[in-house]
């Protein structure tokens, strides 16, 4: 356990000292419990709270009529619904002295509903005459991307393959369900919420309360996982608690049970994808046409940027002269879809990487050779017309092959099948490539900017001020690393200030794999300002040009004469002695993207992350059981600030991707969720992880991230499922085209594979 590389938050976590929201105690705190709509679509006619109000401990009941500000932005999920659009949506909240009293009283609230017609599949939702969820119709969004002329491309093709794929609704399942506390203070509100996005949650609370943004403080306690889920869900909960805190004048705590978290919280969009691929006998791609229909659920939320990312990435990292993607999300009376680790990538990564595998199989080509032939390289043009730079797929493939020994394993797997025709356990190998745009990109919503400040105290200690949320992956440690590399200071001098929106500048949300690239650059700019101030003094004292100075190990010197140095601490104190400050305020904005939104063409992202996954599975042809035996996950992080941290992130992504591939599926029928806890919603356990897992770090720098770094959080979970499903196809001879590849579907594949093989 090297002290040097320890995460800055590790000690307080392993010692049990970290304070999660439920560890925070407040005098006179009240407890909320939400009254939920039992119908997928209904109108609240009346709420009779009299029996609940008479119950022991109940202080008040709040609902839509009590919202001082606005209930929501148009087509977004309201804080309390008057026309609930999915089963489990909150219409009111009981506030009582204890949690038990609040939950008991929920049953006493009489809500009179007019049940409205519901539509629970996107296909039905888009039919003429379908019940409307929002005034402008059930099309949530429609995007097109591409380049060239797909019709001409198909005309040139020797073969055309058409395949359809389905991906499931996935739940985030952080270990900590959503929880908040709102504490009223004099003319202001303090909200404690473990969110990935302090400023966005604050904005919603302000809109709900009708308060200016400086009257609401959003504080982030230690968070027990997010995976993209602790965003608008927490904005809604924070607002509910804040409304009740405003009315009662007392702190109000609102905590979800696991069931409530699953019932009301956002999920990953389910997709139905149709891929049409034109290709020549030699494996050259001539055209790809993609049609996607996604289930956006009841409200808009972040469907637009999810959809655009999917459309942009839908044709994969391949050279194809003609491409067109047409993507539609529909509103349905299902719980709303939103951001989840991958944010629109895993669905298209699965579909595209499986269809590429199918094309290779149709051609009788080794899937590795097929990908080597077709993947993008430096200065190739992407499927949306962007000239790609800093492309490291070739390097990633080579590193993956070094570890996995693709050809040998593929041969051995083939031999295992030859030995065991029929009902035994057989092996198969599969792979998937990954490219993923970093940060919001031109197709995202709003500007992608970030601020980070640093305060250097007279004793040399440093406080970093940032609103970026440490959701568990180590991003605060990453900022410390960036600062250390820039200023050459020791890590133990640095503390990251707890997030409070009234104290720290807006660094943006911990989303979109943007933190390392965007927030890291803001940190670097802040540290550079301090470095520049120090350089002036050091240059004068040492008698060398400022540009030649190196900052290392708390010494500042000319590398040509390292014995002649000044110390970091001396420079801090000299700055103070001169009546100046050693503060830095870094700002970073993603600029210069030329993207044509209407046609979905141009510079979509300023940089991309690349990776390769390879899987070897054992499939029991008699039962459909799949065991992932070997997994190689290669990710180019540009510059690893901490390799062990990177490997840990990759391991976690493999675990999540493996669950997406084989187990996870939110079972929803007619708007009702059947599996509402860990007993029936199956995620991958430690025992399901591959016995042999190799997380491999590639460091090919980009020209955008700090020290060439690329983001990693989401890419790790994106290409796992297609690698596994392709390996299952290698083993069984048949592709599972709908996730998850559970026992039943794999057995079906195995049986039809046997028939295919005769």
């Amino acid at each position: 356990m090297g002290q040097k590389n320890q995460r800055i938050d590790v000690l307080e976590k392993v010692l049990g000292k970290a304070k999660y929201v439920n560890d925070l105690k407040f005098p006179d705190v009240l407890h909320g419990a939400v009254v939920r709509c039992p119908h997928p679509h209904a109108k609240v006619i009346s709420i009779d709270a009299s029996a609940a109000l008479a119950a022991e401990g109940v202080v008040t009941i709040v609902s839509a009529k009590d919202i001082p500000g606005i209930p929501c932005q148009p087509t977004h999920k309201p804080i309390f619904a008057v026309e609930p659009k999915y089963m489990g949506e909150g219409v009111a909240m009981v506030v009582a002295g204890t949690l038990e009293q609040a939950r008991e009283a929920v049953r006493l609230v009489q809500v009179d509903y007019e049940v409205l017609p519901a539509v629970t599949t996107p296909e039905e939702a888009l039919k003429p005459g379908a019940p409307l969820l929002h005034p402008n119709g059930n099309v949530l969004c429609h995007y097109q991307t591409g380049k060239g002329d797909v019709e001409a491309g198909f005309a040139e093709a020797d073969h055309i393959l058409v395949r359809e794929y389905d991906t499931q609704r996935q739940e985030h399942m952080p270990i900590e369900p959503e929880a908040v506390v709102a504490v009223p203070e004099f003319q202001s509100m303090v909200v404690y919420a473990p969110t990935n996005s302090a400023y966005n949650v604050r904005q919603t609370v302000c809109e709900t309360l009708g308060l200016p943004e400086n009257r609401v403080s959003l504080r982030i306690p230690t968070i027990g996982g997010s995976f993209g889920g602790k965003n608008y869900d927490l904005a809604v909960m924070s607002s509910r608690a804040a409304v009740a805190a405003t009315i009662t004048g007392r702190p109000v705590r609102l905590v979800c049970t696991r069931e409530e978290s699953i019932l009301e919280g956002t999920k990953r969009h389910p997709y139905h994808c149709r891929y049409q691929v034109g290709y020549k006998d030699d494996g050259t791609l001539t055209a790809i046409q993609v049609t996607i229909l996604g289930d956006g659920g009841a409200y808009t939320s972040k469907s637009h940027p999810v959809a655009t990312r999917s459309a942009i990435e839908s044709c994969g990292p391949y050279v194809v002269p003609n491409a067109h993607t047409d993507l539609t999300f529909a509103y349905t009376n299902n719980l709303y879809s939103d951001s989840m680790r991958g944010f629109g990538s895993p669905q298209v990564d699965f579909s595209c990487e499986v269809v590429m595998d199918e094309v290779a199989r149709e051609l009788g080509m080794d899937p590795m050779e097929f990908r080597r032939k077709n993947h993008i390289r430096e200065n190739d043009v992407s499927a949306v017309g962007q000239t790609m730079t800093c492309v490291s797929l070739g390097k990633c493939l080579a590193r993956a092959d070094e570890d996995f020994h693709w050809a040998d394993r593929r041969e051995a797997a083939k031999a295992s099948r030859a030995r065991r025709r029929g009902l035994g356990k057989v092996r198969g190998v599969g792979m998937a490539l990954l490219h993923r745009g970093e940060a919001f990109g031109a197709a995202g919503q709003g500007l992608d900017t970030s601020a980070v400040s640093m305060l250097t105290n007279w004793d040399g200690s440093i406080v970093i001020l940032t609103s970026v949320s440490e959701v568990g992956m180590g991003c605060h440690t990453m900022l410390v690393n960036v600062l250390c590399e820039t200023l050459g200071v020791h890590r133990d001098r640095i503390v990251v200030c707890p997030v409070d929106t009234n104290y720290v500048p807006n660094s943006g949300a911990t989303v979109a794999t943007r933190t390392t690239v965007v927030v890291g650059n803001a940190m670097k700019n802040a540290a550079q300002q301090v470095r520049d101030k120090m350089s002036v003094i050091a240059a004068k004292e040492l008698g060398v040009p400022a540009g030649r100075l190196e900052f290392k190990d708390e010494k500042i010197y000319d590398p040509a004469d390292p014995e002649h140095f000044v110390t970091y601490l001396h420079l801090v104190q000299e700055i103070h002695a001169q009546g100046q400050n050693a503060y830095g305020h870094g700002w970073y904005t993603v600029t210069g993207l030329k993207y044509d939104r209407a046609n979905g063409n141009g510079e979509a992202y300023q940089s991309y992350a690349y990776g390769v996954c390879m899987a070897e599975v054992e499939v029991d042809l008699a039962t459909g059981q799949v065991s992932v035996e070997k997994f190689t996950a290669v990710h180019d992080v540009g510059h690893a600030f901490d390799k062990e941290e990177v490997k840990g992130q990759i391991d976690g992504g493999v675990s999540m991707g493996l669950g997406y591939a084989l187990y996870e599926d939110l079972a929803i029928k007619d708007g009702e969720i059947r599996n509402r806890n860990f007993d029936r919603y199956l995620i991958a356990t430690a025992m399901d992880m591959p016995e042999d897992l190799s997380p491999i770090v590639v460091e090919e720098p980009t020209n955008t991230g700090p020290y060439g770094a690329r983001g990693l959080g989401e890419p790790t979970a994106c290409a796992v499922a297609p690698a596994i499903v392709n390996a299952i196809a290698d083993a069984t001879g048949c592709y599972v085209r709908s996730l998850p590849a559970d026992l039943e579907k794999v057995l079906k594949a195995a049986r039809s594979g046997i028939e295919d093989r005769g």
């Binding site: 038990e100 009902l423 008699a622 084989l662 007993d679 199956l682 991958a684 356990t685 399901d688 026992l743």
Partner: protein, 289 residues
């Protein structure tokens, strides 16, 4: 919110007397790994519940021992204790294997075999094993003790043959140390998995290789765990070969459809139970060349 009175009787008699006094309003509890989940989910089974009767203070209900070739397993034996029992490793390894496959280490440390039986889950792991072992449950009520054959224990899913004022003291069965045994479990993932299906097999072949004893109990196949009598009848008195094993395996699937009808799950279960039984028989018997 849990608001039950907690009772911890000092003797089996006291426990039965309390259950007799509070019909339908009390539940004997052991490890609570099923009970608490059901309470939290507001199961209709416990809607009138007022008292939980903790059996952990009763020494008669614990311990695993073998006497005169009969194995006795106390009802309060945890799955972990069974998993690591040297007695079971020798005399009933398939029971140890089944218990080792239950849930997670935490669940196995709390959950008991008696509790699993009393819960009467159709997906129980130890239940089909006890049936294949031809075990009897020793139960005690206000009027004394009686034995219930395990094959009669589950009346229907969630309902046992126990009277409301009876508790299970333990299970006994003849040692199968001299026989071949197999337990196979199929789950949706590698741990913390409820059986999709399982197979328990106890079999013996005489010196000529003729099967002179066979008990085959598939789990999650019939409405309640039970022996597959048709397959057993095919096997008994025969020397197994590939064709016989195939016939027996198919007979289990046929019996499943005969007894439970064709359901949405049949498309999957029919070929898979056939394969699992075939595997169990291939592992459990010496096959004539």
């Amino acid at each position: 919110m849990l608001r039950y009175d907690y009772v911890r009787p000092a003797s089996v008699e006291e426990a039965c007397a309390f259950l007799l006094k509070t019909p339908g309003r009390s539940c004997p509890i052991a490890g609570c790994t099923d009970f608490l989940v059901q309470v939290r989910e507001k199961s209709a089974r416990w809607k009138d519940l007022q008292y939980v009767v903790d059996l952990s203070a009763l020494p008669e209900l614990s311990g695993i021992r073998v006497e005169d070739g009969i194995v006795h397993v106390g009802a309060m034996t945890t799955h972990s204790a069974a998993e690591h029992s040297p007695v079971l490793a020798e005399h009933a390894p398939l029971l140890a294997a089944a218990c080792a496959s239950v849930g997670s280490p935490q669940i196995r440390n709390r959950g008991t075999i008696g509790g699993a039986v009393a819960n009467a889950s159709p997906a129980s792991d130890p239940m089909p094993v006890l049936i294949a072992l031809e075990a009897n449950a020793l139960v005690q009520g206000p009027n004394g003790q009686r034995t219930i054959p395990m094959s009669d224990m589950i009346v229907k899913p969630g309902k046992t043959a126990l009277a409301p004022d009876e508790i299970i003291l333990g299970f006994s069965f003849p040692s199968v140390a001299h026989m071949r045994t197999v337990f196979l479990k199929l789950g949706r993932r590698k741990a913390l998995s409820i059986s999709r299906m399982n197979v328990s097999l106890v079999v013996h072949q005489d010196a000529e290789g003729v099967i002179d004893h066979v008990a085959l109990a598939p789990g999650c196949v019939f409405a309640a765990p039970d022996r597959a009598r048709k397959a057993e009848a095919l096997l008994l008195g025969r020397r197994p070969d590939a064709a016989l094993i195939d016939d027996a395996a198919k007979a289990v699937a046929d019996e499943m459809i005969e007894r439970t009808g064709v359901r949405w799950s049949t498309e999957y279960k029919q070929p898979v139970i056939t394969a699992l039984v075939r595997r169990a028989l291939e592992n459990g018997t010496e096959v004539a060349e």
